[in-house]
C-alpha cells in the first residue's frame, strides 16, 4: 500500500538505481510528509542505503528523479543533513569530538572562511542535545560505538537543517544510546523537522516511526503503520527476493554494460 501525500517534503519519481552493474532499486515512486519520523526498512541488500545515497546525490540514478522541498538537491543543500553509516569513516582520524561536529557548519561557511565563535557555540549546543557536552575535546579514536554515533548526529544537528537523512544510526549501539537517540529524534519531529532513518530492526521499528517505507529492491509499501505494516506486506518485504527480479538482475550483470543506463 503506497500512500502519496500532497505537498510532500520529498518526492521520488520513477527512480531506478543501479549499483555496480546490477539494478538495486526499480521504479520507486513515493512522496513523504514533513514533520514525521520516517523509517526505511527491508532485508540486507534491499536497496535502503542506495535509496538514501540516491536522494543525497551520491549515486546517479539510471532513471527518474528526486525532488526535495519541490526543488532539486543543488538548490536546497543547506536545508538537508546527512548522517552516513558509522563504518564509512576511519575513526583513527586525528580529530576531536568538537572538530567533527564543527564540520557540520562548514557547508554554510563557504570556502576560505574559518569557523568562529558562532560555529563553536552551535556545535556545543548540538553536543549538549546528544549528551556529549563533556566529550568535546576527546579524541574520536577513544569513543565507543554509541558515542561515535552520537557525534555523527551532533554533526548533523549543527547543520541546522529541516530534513535529516540517517543511514542506520541505531546499528551496533547500546540500549541507552538507542533510547537517547530516539528521544532526540522525537523532539526534532515535534519541532517540525523531518527525519528519515534507515533502520535494521523490524521489531523496534514498529514503535519508533510514524511512517514506514518498505523496500525489497522495489517499493513494497509507503505509509503509516496501519497501511504499510500489514502481514502480507511484511512477507513481501522480508520473504525473499522476487525470483524473476533476481534472474533479470543476473542477466543484466552478465552483460558488460548496463542496459538500463542511458
Amino acid at each position: 500500500m503506497i500512500t502519496q501525500v500532497k505537498n510532500p517534503i520529498l518526492e521520488i519519481h520513477d527512480l531506478t538505481v543501479s549499483y555496480d552493474q546490477s539494478p538495486v532499486l526499480w521504479n520507486v515512486d513515493l512522496s513523504l510528509p514533513s514533520g514525521k519520523l520516517i523509517g526505511i526498512l527491508g532485508p540486507n541488500g534491499a536497496g535502503k542505503s542506495t535509496l538514501i545515497k540516491a536522494i543525497m546525490g551520491l549515486v546517479d540514478p539510471s532513471g527518474g528523479y528526486v525532488k526535495l522541498f519541490d526543488k532539486t538537491l543543488a538548490e536546497v543543500r543547506s536545508r538537508i543533513s546527512y548522517v552516513p553509516q558509522r563504518e564509512s569513516v576511519d575513526w583513527n582520524f586525528p580529530a576531536s569530538v568538537l572538530d567533527v561536529v564543527m564540520m557540520g557548519t562548514y557547508g554554510k561557511l563557504g570556502l576560505f572562511k574559518r569557523p568562529g565563535k558562532k560555529e563553536k557555540e552551535l556545535s556545543m549546543e548540538s553536543l549538549e542535545k546528544v549528551g556529549m557536552h563533556g566529550f568535546a575535546n576527546r579524541q574520536i579514536s577513544e569513543l565507543s560505538g554509541g558515542q561515535q554515533q552520537r557525534v555523527f548526529i551532533a554533526r548533523s544537528l549543527a547543520q541546522n537543517a529541516d530534513l535529516y537523512l540517517m543511514d542506520e544510526p541505531f546499528a551496533g549501539v547500546d540500549m541507552a544510546t538507542e533510547t537517547a537517540i530516539f528521544e532526540l529524534l522525537k523532539e526534532m519531529t515535534a519541532a517540525g523537522k523531518t527525519v528519515i532513518v534507515v533502520h535494521h530492526d523490524i521489531y523496534s521499528a514498529v514503535n519508533y516511526f510514524d511512517w514506514f517505507i518498505m523496500l525489497n529492491l522495489h517499493l513494497v509499501a509507503s505509509g503509516p503503520k496501519e497501511t504499510a505494516m500489514t502481514e502480507e506486506l511484511l512477507s513481501k518485504t522480508y520473504g525473499g527476493k522476487l525470483n524473476l527480479l533476481t534472474k533479470v538482475s543476473d542477466l543484466i550483470r552478465q552483460k558488460d554494460f548496463n542496459p538500463l543506463k542511458n
Binding site: W26, A221, K247, F257
Partner: protein
Amino acid sequence: MEDFVYFFTFQDSSIAFVVIGIILLGVGSAYVGTYSFLDKKALLGDAISHAVLPGICVGFILAGEKNPLFIVSGAFISGALATFLSSWLNKSTRLSEDAIIASILSIFFGFGIVLLTIIQKSGNPEMAGLNQFIFGNAIAILESDVYIYGGLAIFIILCLTVFQKEFSLLVFNPDYGRAIGFPMGMIRVTFNVLLILSVVIGIQAIGVVLMAALLITPGAAARFWTDRLGVLVILAGTFSAISGVLGTYISFVIPQMPTGPWVVVFLSIIALISFLFAPKKGVLSRYLSRRIYLRKTHRDHLLKLLYKGIEANKPGLPIAEIHEAFPFQKTQTKQSIGNLSKDKFITQSQLVIELSSTGRSEAKRIVRLHRLWELYLNEYMNIAPDHVHDTAEKLEHLLSPEMEELLESRLNFPKLDPHQENIPRD
C-alpha cells in the same frame, strides 16, 4: 635492418644468452607478480624492489666486487627484512597499509642510496656494475649470470606451477585453506621468499624503480583475456617475455639506452591494448557490445511499431511515418530497415513497409515480452501503470525464452497488460 637480423638470429652467442636471461627473468617475475596482483598486494612488490638496494650495496661492500652470491644474499636479506617489518608494522601500529608500504619503500631506498654514494666515493672501479641495479641493463648480462639468475627463475616458475593449488588458496581464500588443514603460514612465507627472489633477479634487467612494472603489468594485462588461473599466468609470462626481448633489442641497437624503461614501455603498450581490445572486458569491446545491443534494440522497436500498426488496422506503414516515430535517428532507422529486410522480417513495396510472417511472430514476441514485463512490474512491484513502460522498453530485448516461460506461468497467462492492451500469442 641488419641489426635486426643479427639480433634475432642469435648469431652472437652473448646476445642469445641475454635474450634467454631476460625471458627467464621476465617470466619468473610475471608469475610471482600475477599472484601478488590477484592478492591485491601488487604494490608490496614495488616496496620490496626498492628495499633490496641496501642489501645489494652491503653485499658488494663485503665482497669488494660484483659477486653474484654476495649480492643476491644481501638483496635477499634486505628484502626479507623489509617484508618482515611491513607485516610487523601492520600488526603493531594503527598506520594504514599504504603508509606502511610507502614508508618502508622510501626508508630502505634512502638507506640504500647512502650506501651507494659511499661506495661511489670510495672509487672502487667495480662500482660501475652496481649502477646497473638501479636502472637495469640486460645487455650486461653475462653467460655466468644467466646460469645463476636463470636457474633461480626456473626454480620460481617450477615452484609456482607445482604448487599452484596451494598458492591460489593463499590468494583467494586463505581462511578456507587453513580450515582444510593447509599450512597457510608456511605457504605465505614461501610466497614471500619467491617474491623477493624474483625481485632480486629481475632488477638486473629492469632496475629497482621499474621492477614493479615487471611484477604488476603482465598480470593486470593478462587478466583481461582470461578468468582461468593457469592460462592467466602463462599469458602474463608470455607478455613479459615479448616485452623483455623487444626492450633488449632497443638497448642493443641504441647502446646508451638502458633496457628497463623500454621493457616497461612495451609492457604498457601490451597492457593498454589488453585494456582496450580484450574481448568482453576491454573498453572498446564493451563499447561495441553496447552499440550492437542498442542497434538490436532499435530494430526491435521498429518491429513493435509495425505490429502496433497492425493492431490499429494498418497492415503496413509508410517509411516516412516510421522515420517520424524515431526523430533524430535517421541513419539508425535506415540501417534497421536494411537489416530487417535482409533477415526477411519485413517487406518493402513502393514506400510502404510490412511485416513478413516471420517478422510478425518476432514482433509479437517482443510486444508480448514488453507487456508481460509491464504487468509484472505493475502487479508484483506495485509500480504505477504510467511508469512501467520505460523499464519494459529497455528490458524486452534481454528476456530469454526461459524468462518468458517463467513470466507467463507467474502471471498465469494473462490476457491484458496494465494499459488494457492485448498480450499477443500465437
